[in-house]
Amino acid sequence: EADIYQTPRYLVIGTGKKITLECSQTMGHDKMYWYQQDPGMELHLIHYSYGVNSTEKGDLSSESTVSRIRTEHFPLTLESARPSHTSQYLCASSERGTQNTGELFFGEGSRLTVL
C-alpha cells in the first residue's frame, strides 16, 4: 500500500486567500508530481521534482508554485486563490533510476473550491 498523504482532503476558501496543499511520502522516492484533475478531463501534470531543490513546471500552465526542501515533502502553494483554481489536485511519487518501473503512487487528492 502506498504511503503518500495529502492534506487537506477538502478545502473551501474565498477568492484572494493564500493556500498551501501539503503532500508527504514515506517511501523515500526521489520523484514527486502534482497533477490537476477535472471531471471528464485528462490528468494534467502541473509540477514535478527530481529531488531536493529541484522543481519544474509541467504541461499545464499553473499559477501555483511548489518547493522541495525535503525528500518527503512537496507542498503546492497558491498565493491568491481564484474560482478558476477550483479543481482536484493529486500528488504522486515514483522511484528513480534503475528501480523506476514507471509506476506512480498517488495520494487521495485535495479537492479545492474557491468561492
Binding site: 502506498a2 503518500i4 520523484k31 497533477y35 471528464g40 478531463m41 485528462e42 490528468l43 501534470l45 514535478y48 527530481y50 493529486l90 504522486a92 515514483s94 528513480r96 533510476g97 534503475t98 523506476n100 518501473t101 514507471g102 509506476e103 506512480l104 498517488f106 495520494g107 487521495e108 487528492g109
Partner: protein
C-alpha cells in the same frame, strides 16, 4: 505528440458480465502502457502495466490487458465484473521510462457503473 484516447466516457454493465474498456495511444516508438483505477474519493492505483514481452498482461483484481501494436491499442478486460469494480479507469502512456522525468500522459478516463 503522444496522446491517449479512451473513447468511452461511461460504461454500465451488470454484475457478473464481462468488461472491456478501450484505450488507444498515439506514439511513434514502443510505448510503456498503464491502466490505473480511481475509486470515489481516492487516489489512482495501478492495475497493470506493459513494458515489453508478452502482449497479454495480468494485473490485480482479476484484470488483464492486451497490447496490440497494429491497432495502437491497450484494452482492459475482466471476464466477470464485481460491484466493487465500479470506479473510474484511466489509461496512461509513458514515453521516457528510465529518464529523470518518468512522465505519464493520461486519457480522460472511463467511468464504470455496475448494476447488481
Amino acid at each position: 505528440a503522444q496522446s491517449v484516447t479512451q473513447p468511452d466516457i461511461h460504461i454500465t454493465v451488470s454484475e457478473g458480465a464481462s468488461l472491456e474498456l478501450r484505450c488507444n495511444y498515439s506514439y511513434g516508438a514502443t510505448p510503456y502502457l498503464f491502466w490505473y483505477v480511481q475509486s470515489p474519493g481516492q487516489g489512482l492505483q495501478l492495475l497493470l502495466k506493459y513494458f515489453s514481452g508478452d502482449t497479454l498482461v495480468q494485473g490485480i483484481k482479476g484484470f488483464e490487458a492486451e497490447f496490440k501494436r497494429s491497432q495502437s491499442s491497450f484494452n482492459l478486460r475482466k471476464p466477470s465484473v464485481h460491484w466493487s469494480d465500479a470506479a473510474e479507469y484511466f489509461c496512461a502512456v509513458a514515453v521516457d521510462r528510465g529518464s529523470t522525468l518518468g512522465r505519464l500522459y493520461f486519457g480522460r478516463g472511463t467511468q464504470l457503473t455496475v448494476w447488481p
